[in-house]
């Protein structure tokens, strides 16, 4: 692998007595899109702030482009941040906002304007150069914030839940645009979110965090299909968690105490020859979700055991029905915990 | 950066010094034993406090001040509350203009308001009195009370009013039983502010009173005799009372927020 652009070496951080990050180590490759995914309190925003220089970690080092930036102020390191509330300067025009970083670097007026317009064009907003932020819509402001951060050509662009304030349709559209822009400019993006769909859509590297630890990391498809921990299996998509002994699956990793099975992997009815029977139960809940139905099937002998199953819309199933469940042995995921 | 912080802190200390200087001198020389409240300090002595507390006209002025402040503030709050309710809950033609009218006195110098009232009262034969001063104080305080209460009338109260009406309450019940308790902080704040402005107000009281007058006007009279420790004593007393009142306010009102 080529030299990582960013190396996070055993970074830990506490706020007073409260430990928020525990020995985080992570390498980020050049020209990649990394997503830090986790619930609130997982430490993902703290890690982002450490990368941006707004916090100095209690322990550990951060290297960017080979230089130790651990204690470097935000202005001195090759990073820029897109803030959650965009933080566009309300008294400046869009053009002045975007050119601000260049101005701080001493770039002349004509050159600043040219480069600002170039970057605004990349985000599709060169026509609003003379407007003020309050005249723009949420999505437009978000793009201006992005342009402002990109125009100074940082090595590392940090995004703090940038799409949280947008409605679903706009969010999906922006996700596509973010991905496209990242590919076009080649800057390393590190993006914090709690939305696993967003992570799956954007990430080259998905880092799942919980309570200050990295639970799992890797390409989103691998993390989804083969989550390493219970947390990952239930945070990244849904899973049914079973004790390893409950499924008669030959070739299962003996070190695994738990297994996870994705709802779309479970089939209804008797197990075909290659599949493993999972037992049977009563349908206790059936929820229409558009393209499919989500069924909860409870084992009457062990009411704590509830299978989450994805059922085709056309399947004739009702609450109270008894069904048998099965799945392919490949789809049984052994978990580390 | 550190140097700038130190510089600013030193500056701030100097500003505090500037702010406290006159009051410190006032209080210090109120304990002056000799006749002039200037250095050197020959004290401490309580003779001037005795003189002040024994001075009939000063104590009368104090009582008058409290009277005028209380009554005029009550009037201002009452008028302000009712009109705030009216403007907030009903559609009135020219509402914006009328509201601007009610808040207009805020922009006019007290001297001019006092003068206008003096001329008017002369014309209609109302003599200079505490009543006249009280009217003047209500005029300057009404806009403030109105503004404070009006700004607090939001959807919160509207929903409660609707619920009350739904349960059969008549308008006066709604006002007294629902609105007043809900707006209690705003009403109290405007009353307190009005009291403060009225209590300390000089120009209008000076123009509109004659024999019976308020404390600031009495103090002004004292100033005729030049630098006098008596004035120091009165000023320090007023200061002391204000501090005690605000401390009580802090403890009673703001204590509630602690738990």
């Amino acid at each position: 692998m080529t030299e990582p652009l960013v190396e996070i070496q055993s970074v830990s951080h506490s706020f007073g007595p409260h430990r928020v990050l525990e020995a985080i180590s992570l390498d980020i490759a050049p020209a990649s899109y990394t997503v830090l995914l986790g619930p609130s309190g997982s430490g993902k925003t703290t890690l982002l702030n450490i990368l941006g220089g707004f916090l100095t970690p209690s322990e550990g080092r951060v290297l960017i482009e080979g230089t130790d930036c651990t204690a470097l102020a935000p202005a001195r390191r090759p990073t820029t941040t897109v803030f959650q509330d965009y933080a566009l300067f309300p008294h400046m025009t869009v053009g002045a906002n975007v050119a601000f970083g260049l101005r701080m670097r001493g770039v002349g007026r004509g050159e600043r304007r040219r480069r600002a317009l170039e970057t605004l064009e990349i985000v599709g907003l060169d026509h609003v150069e003379t407007r003020k932020p309050h005249e723009l819509s949420g999505g437009q402001r978000q793009r201006v914030a992005l342009a402002r951060a990109l125009v100074v050509e940082p090595a590392l662009l940090l995004l703090d839940e940038p799409l949280g304030a947008l409605d679903l349709k706009l969010r999906r559209q922006m996700q596509d645009e973010l991905k496209a822009i990242q590919k076009r400019v080649g800057t390393v993006f590190v993006h914090v979110t709690h939305d696993q769909e967003e992570a799956m859509a954007l990430a080259d590297l998905c880092v799942v965090m919980s309570e200050g630890h990295i639970e799992d990391m890797g390409p989103p498809e691998r993390v989804y299909r083969r989550p390493r921990t219970r947390f990952t299996a239930t945070f990244m998509g849904e899973s049914t968690i079973l004790p390893a002994g409950a499924v008669a699956c030959p070739g299962l990793d003996p070190a695994a105490s738990l297994v996870a099975i994705r709802p779309e992997s479970i089939g209804l009815g008797d197990a075909p020859p290659s599949h493993v029977a999972l037992g049977s139960g009563t349908v206790t809940d059936l929820v229409f979700q558009g393209g499919f139905k989500r069924a909860s099937v409870t084992d009457p002998a062990d009411p704590g055991r509830v299978y989450t199953v994805r059922v085709p819309v056309t399947q004739p199933l009702a609450e109270g029905d008894t069904v048998a469940l099965h799945c392919s042995p490949d789809e049984i995921i052994p978990l580390k915990e | 950066m550190k140097a700038l912080k130190i510089l600013t802190s030193v500056y701030a200390l100097a500003v505090y010094g500037f702010i406290f200087l006159p009051v410190a001198v006032l209080v210090l020389f109120s304990f002056q034993a000799s006749l002039f409240p200037v250095p050197p300090f020959t004290g401490p002595s309580l003779r001037w406090y005795e003189a002040v507390l024994g001075d009939r006209s000063l104590t009368a002025g104090l009582v008058n001040s409290v009277l005028v402040a209380t009554v005029s503030s009550l009037v201002a709050v009452a008028l302000g509350f009712l009109s705030a309710y009216g403007f907030a809950r009903f559609r009135l033609p020219g509402s914006g203009l009328l509201r601007a009218l009610v808040t207009a006195p805020l922009m006019v110098s007290y001297l001019i308001i006092g003068m206008g009232l003096l001329i008017l009262f002369n014309a209609v034969g109302l003599p200079k009195s505490l009543l006249a001063a009280g009217i003047g104080h209500a005029v300057i305080n009404l806009p403030l009370c109105f503004a404070i209460v009006y700004s607090q009338m939001g959807d919160h109260q509207l929903n409660a009013e609707r619920a009350a009406r739904d349960l059969g309450a008549r308008s006066r019940h709604v006002l007294v039983l629902i609105l007043v308790p809900m707006l209690w902080p705003a009403l109290f704040a405007s009353f307190f502010l009005a009291m403060t402005f009225s209590w300390d107000e000089f120009v209008i009281a000076f123009l509109l009173t004659r024999f019976e007058t308020t404390l600031p006007v009495e103090i002004w009279g004292l100033l005729r005799s030049g630098l006098n420790p008596r004035t120091n004593a009165v000023g320090s007393l007023v200061f002391g009372v204000s501090i005690v009142l605000v401390l009580i306010l802090e403890l009673v009102v703001f204590r509630k927020r602690r738990p």
């Binding site: 707004f54 935000p74 202005a75 820029t80 803030f83 509330d85 309300p90 008294h91 601000f100 970083g101 701080m104 309050h134 | 700038l4 600013t8 500056y11 701030a12 505090y16 500037f18 702010i19 006159p22 009051v23 001198v25 006032l26 409240p37 200037v38 250095p39 009712l82 009109s83 009216g86 809950r89 009903f90 559609r91 009218l101 009610v102 207009a104 006195p105 922009m107 006019v108 110098s109 007290y110 001297l111 001019i112 308001i113 003068m115 206008g116 001329i119 008017l120 002369n122 003047g136 005029v139 009404l142 000089f202 600031p216 103090i219 630098l227 004035t231 000023g235 007023v238 204000s242 605000v246």
Partner: protein, 282 residues
């Protein structure tokens, strides 16, 4: 039949009526009376005469008073803003969060003395045998006490004392409600402390400063007490001139004319500052 609807229609007026009546009777009416009186001439029975206004224009000491007022108020406004801003900055940025309220209260504390008494206190401080003169001659900076009381300097000092406190409060509030994100964003983009202040904080607090400046202007130009106690009678400001007409000479027509002229000046100032005083949408 009409009775219920009529009551309903008149109901709102029952609420706003009293306040409106009060304001018209005791604020608008006096103004109208004053305007009328300003067009009469003291001593004669003349009415609808512009004699008082003419007097103002022709009599040097009269319009000098207005000029003095404008000069003094301008100086006071500028000096107070310059002194207050760093102080407000100190309270909002350097003092730790939980001591800020105490810091503010301490700054406001001395103003709980009576206004009259406070002006008197400055007289004490600035008198020839007062504290400042004593201190300066004591250290040897001065050989003889300098006259500080009963001068324009004393009036300005008295005003600045009060308005520094007022402006500190308004600027403090302004600084506190600035989102910290702006500062972070500017720092992130490479701005140092001075640049952040110049490009972000100063422009964003400017509207607040303008409001404070306007307030200072209106309050100071109409104030009688401070110039009268501290400025002495060497240089008269408008309020003093007006009071003179009422008191000694009983010339209400002239006093009214002067008062209306003062009002006009304040109204002009209001329109000049109008764009800052409009509430800007966030």
């Amino acid at each position: 039949m009409t009775s219920r609807r009529t009551i309903e229609r008149w109901r709102p007026w029952a609420y706003v009526g009293p306040a409106l009546v009060w304001t018209v009777a005791f604020f608008i009416l006096p103004f109208l009376v004053m305007a009328w009186v300003s067009l009469t001439v003291h001593g004669t029975g003349e009415t609808l005469s512009a004699a008082n206004y003419a007097q103002f224009v022709h009599n040097e000491s009269y319009w000098r008073a207005l000029v003095n007022s404008l000069e003094v108020t301008a100086i006071v406004t500028v000096v107070s803003i310059l002194l207050a801003y760093p102080f407000a900055w100190f309270l909002a940025e350097i003092v730790p969060e939980r001591w800020q309220r105490l810091g503010l209260m301490l700054a406001v504390l001395p103003f709980w003395t009576s206004y009259v008494v406070r002006s008197y206190s400055w007289l004490l401080v600035l008198a020839e045998n007062g504290v400042v003169n004593n201190a300066l001659t004591g250290i040897g900076l001065l050989s003889d006490p300098v006259q500080m009381a009963n001068t324009r300097f004393a009036t300005v000092t008295g005003f600045v004392h009060f308005f520094v406190m007022l402006l500190t409060l308004t600027i403090f509030a302004n600084l506190k409600q600035l989102s910290p994100s702006y500062r972070k964003a500017a720092a992130d983009l490479g701005a140092n402390g001075v640049q952040i202040f110049r490009h972000v904080i100063l422009p964003l607090t400017l509207p607040g400063i303008m409001v404070g400046a306007f307030l200072t202007f209106v309050l100071a130009i109409g104030d009688y007490i401070t110039p009268q106690i501290l400025g002495g009678n060497n240089e008269l400001l408008m309020p003093q001139l007006i009071m003179m007409q009422i008191g000694r000479r009983g010339d209400f027509p002239l006093a009214s004319a002067l008062a209306l002229i003062l009002m006009a000046v304040v109204t002009l100032a209001y329109f000049a500052c109008a764009r800052w005083l409009r509430i800007e949408r966030a």
